[in-house]
Subunit: 407 residues, 4 copies
């Protein structure tokens, strides 16, 4: 047994297949993938990694299995999946996931091709675990897959408290011990036991407050868009294999961006925190429906059109159109008066939070500070934004830190 | 300057009028008034007092004054009011406040008659502060009164984080530093500056989650009702002056209840945690409107009617009818795009939380375990409850601790 | 199973005999015994109770038993002893323990006569546990008694972290999880496993820093001496049975002191924090050896002699002579290179800390502020103190809080 | 004013010269220098950076200046020095500092040549601050230099609590607020005010416990030695300019080590945590005096001699000879009875801790696991170690995590 000290869960005891997996290169690589990518540019203490998070998820999974009375190989499989659940992440995790997906067809939780080879495959085989079964759990498939990836998964429980601990933003501080203790399986569904409507709501609310304050803070979004565009350019300008880039760590990507002429500009801006500014910051009501449906090629085309109209370099315009807000926690299930109900049926908060998420949604157009005004003006016309839409423009100077507006 | 170590705010520096007030008997008495009264029977570590809370409120008021740029006598008056804001509490604070109000006409924030005499009056005079002006601030009157008692007051900010720290329930852990830093006065109204809709919502949500989990946990409510009824009986059975009882501390009341025959029964049950159980736990939809409008005498009459019908002792039935849920934080004000708006206009959450509070509202009838079933059956008829109303009865055995259902 | 939320250990699951013991009056009484007595007059947030501490000790004992692989009735007996280990405390715990011992011959860990009757005896019998065997464990007897009361006991581990949490003084924040995990039995001795010299030292150092800062802060000592003398007077002036007083709670004692003429003076001073001041604060080198050997009657006689010499009331002089400093943690045992060694043999720190404790030792003479100077002068002569001894007198005005000098 | 959220100090307000310095490349670079280098291989959550630490040091310096009543340009200069105090660190901070020093003659606190050019110089000039004067403060020169770099500096206060927060090891949790509040200048010396012998001791003890547990954990030392040797080889094998390497960030160095044939072996071992093991782990008493006096060239020669004797590759033997233990905190000064005394005169602990540090000192010889035994045997002879010296050899298999022995 190996015991590891963690700043969130204190001592984590790692045994069995998990202990053997710990020393494999794909798991050790997670030490060099930042959990929150560009969020550290807003919250400077948020430098935690996918490795410590994966240990935390393993730990909570192990506790949940104990409370649920699940043992033997079934439990080992879940523990392996918990520790491995993030090995599919590319450098800077979600920040460049969309690029990787377009190029390789793989999201981060699609790990069948990563677990069937090398040391990980060997360790799983040594412990009589089927690598495909473990990869299925990582993808959230099957009854026990819900524990690893689902509305009430231990992944979510770990990252909320861990991100709160490291950013200093208290909103994510849920009562994860209680959540773990109250999990039950009813007819194959993972649910919270009687008396936990509030517990389920607290999870939902923690996410609802962390989203705008941390995960979707506009400064993190700007930096992420720059990093993403830089990564695309790197793939265009060099013969880097996207499948290989997916296996890099943050250092590989950062140094490669710096050492490639086509991307050095983005890299130095990110490195020195000379970020683009918001030329446009538009609410959903100001945005024509067809913009929401654009694919990546169309977005790039709009960027070029805006750049042309504003007479600036093509790289100087970044268009950031987030997807429709989703809220997976809202479909979590609780037992109420002996019946399993969806939280959405039970809680008046769910509808309100869904509406709040749409209210907080923003389309962004980003550009270097010197040309942001000009780009903003042209973007309104090119994109057909409703010029009287609330907050279409954001005139305030770039902000450094957390106390910025995010509404 | 006196520096005091606090488990929530670390070092608190106390100077000026506050330092002089610290050593007066009315402030020292707060050391012996529990902040959360009977909540300690649910959360055993919640033994913090009104004294440490008052220090915390003073500290946050002082910080807020600094950020708002308020100085001189105006600021000293607020600091005095902050430290004194709870001297009007009777033993067990809110637990017996209703009894004291019926007997003396005074709520806890009505302190004009407490500040105009004795050492407190002397200290205020020494510092050229008018005692009535300070008492006005405690009551929330005037522009600066909003800081001491209002929707965005520092009282609320301290108790949420302090109650979270001591109960162990994380939901109250707001970002009080940010709240303090973002306060502004606009046209005489205390508001949160631009970019703080989420900050305001977080305050509302913290309260919304702490309410059912901590403040209105049914075990705390049962114990509170027993304590309240015991205090009434004490006033009936002895010649205790209600105005004097208001000035007692928790020990005085507890020992007096124990040493008086008419109340020793309640006292020992509270002391040994042999609490009454829920005979009825009814949602608002199951309760006839007229019950909601009953005054205290009518409630006592209903209790007797139920006791008669169930053939039990009059003291064996306690009827607990909370007022309509209120949500003062929902009227807090934030600056949005340069205008002051009520949070209710701006946040889709407010309506949802209001509805949630009505959903969580419960009428309780409590009785000793042995007769709870019988009392419950009769109470349905006597009170005219809707017998099919959700959760009219609660068959589950008494619970000890926190993981109990509260929906 | 009952699950209780604790502000230090989060969720504590209580089952078996411990769950049944929880609801007995002797355990519930611990809710009303302050853990640190008069220390709250120095650290206002230190209002935690023996009840929450006992839950914590039960929790750590349960964890330690798990790591040590001890099961069955043997383990149940330890769990019962852990929860019951403090039921022998009188009001204000250690503050009046000496008085109780003189009158009843019982220290707080002598609980044979408390466990052999009433509900506790019934519960123990129901669980086939011998009450004397449990009381032996509380006294630290036998191999497993070391876990409950010994140099490496879980009592110490809980109170250090709990006292740190509630006072806000960080020095007690040991790594209790590691201590628990590293416990082993070697030839009947409870020891720390290989590689834990530092771990053992950290326990010793935590105590060494908490002692002067918290446990023996001079303000807490003054108040304790006043409380102790008040309790003696109460027993002299009334027909209170000392054995009964031992079973009171803090409220009983405080209210009785207030309502008895002979002790009301002390009670009001304690209540309003108008404490005596240090007339003398003498280092060990300034104190004649025979003073250190005085029994209680001789101390009282010296007080009277000083009072006579200073021409003040007998109650106005309090002489406080602590025992020789002890350091039980210094005899804890660790495995070093495969052998069990006493920490004292292994750690150069132990001797140094022992010397430091003697350096910090102080004899105190306390008196009301107005007469403190006069009392101090006479006390030097009456007690035969070395007038040039360091810090024989302390001229500084009474201090309120934590940032006071304690050297 | 910029306000930044920090996980240790909550909100940090940055203004004046510090706000302007924040956005300069040398300060932004600190975001990519790990505070504890290879310690993250032992404590996986220790991924905090020199950037957040520098913000913390700035914050504590600002607080200390306030308490000391220092204002104006004098204070601005200290604030600038606090924020800039670590810009001289090379990648992985102390881990490769020795290499950089040998090559460039610069330690990390020698920053005159970094502050006199570029944006930093421009910002300092804009604020009328002399860059050499600021660099002097960073080096600890002058009265106010003691605040930035000295026995009682704010650097130490920040890193102890920050390292405790991020590793999860509580020993560093000092009462930094108290330390800051008690600082005074007496005759040009920075000292702690009356009543703070314990406070000074607590600082010393925190370091004494953090050293073996965190900073000098043998796994971190092995990895550091590998990284250092890798860096030397990189300079030998490529035309990298050492002065330029000094300005790299962690990513630059890691990727360069990976992409250079001569160093890829070390890089991959570090990346995959396949570290060398201890072939020798010798106490000071087992080590001939002349070994302690060896310079770098001699150490490299001994390595080669051992490698030859063991018939392994030259890169397979690493000799790690730490300097004599020092304890700067032991010369901190406190006011005792009105006079300034060195803590060493006053505290019996200082001598004990000094002895403890020598006891904990170890010479290490590291080698790949497969050849560690052979290398160990030969190293004893080559180095002339005392073969019966305690713990000359360490037979235990490599350890993963924190619960390893370090005595």
């Amino acid at each position: 047994m190996t015991t590891i000290k963690d700043s969130v869960h204190d001592h984590i005891a790692v045994e069995g297949v998990a202990e053997a997996l710990l020393d494999t290169p794909p798991v050790q690589r997670l030490r060099r993938i930042a959990q929150l990518g560009t969020v550290t540019l807003v919250y400077p203490s948020a430098n935690h990694t996918r490795f410590e998070h994966s240990l935390g998820v393993y730990h909570l999974a192990d506790e949940a299995l104990g409370h649920l009375g699940i043992e033997g190989q079934k439990a080992e499989r879940v523990r392996a999946a918990a520790l491995l659940h993030d090995v599919g992440h590319s450098p800077y995790s979600h920040n460049v996931e969309a690029v990787i997906y377009r190029e390789t067809g793989k999201y981060h939780d699609d790990v069948h091709d990563l677990l069937d080879r090398g040391e990980v495959a060997r360790v799983l085989a040594d412990h009589d675990l089927d690598h495909d079964a473990v990869a299925d759990l990582v993808a959230g498939d099957g009854e026990l897959g819900q524990l690893v990836s689902g509305e009430l998964d231990v992944d979510r429980m770990d990252y909320l408290v861990r991100d709160a601990h490291h950013t200093g933003v208290p909103y994510g501080t849920i009562d994860h011990e209680r959540l773990i203790r109250e999990l039950r399986f009813v007819d194959g569904d993972l649910v919270l036991d009687e008396g936990n409507v509030q517990t389920a709501e607290s999870l939902l609310l923690a996410r609802a407050l962390m989203n705008p304050t941390v995960y979707r803070h506009h400064v993190a979004r700007i930096a992420k868009t720059m990093l993403r565009r830089g990564t695309e350019r790197l793939l265009e300008a060099t013969d880097t294999d996207p499948a290989e880039l997916r296996r890099w760590d943050d250092s590989d990507l950062l140094v490669s961006l710096r050492r490639t002429d086509a991307t050095a500009g983005y890299a130095h801006r990110l490195t020195e925190r000379r970020l683009y500014k918001r030329a446009i910051w538009a609410e959903m009501t100001a945005v024509p429906d067809e913009l929401l449906a654009m694919d990546h090629a169309e977005i790039r085309e709009e960027e070029r059109a805006i750049a042309d109209a504003a007479n600036v370099d093509a790289d100087a315009v970044l268009l950031d159109v987030p997807g429709e807000p989703s809220m997976p926690e809202s479909s979590s299930r609780v037992v109420v008066n002996g019946e399993v109900r969806g939280l959405g049926e039970q809680s008046t908060l769910v509808t309100a939070l869904r509406a709040a998420q749409r209210d907080q949604w923003r389309l962004g157009v980003y550009a270097p500070e010197a040309v942001a005004d000009r780009v903003g003006e042209r973007a309104i016309r090119v994109l057909g934004l409703e010029p009287d839409g609330a907050m279409v423009r954001d005139a305030r100077p770039g902000v450094h830190a957390t106390l910025d507006e995010f509404n």
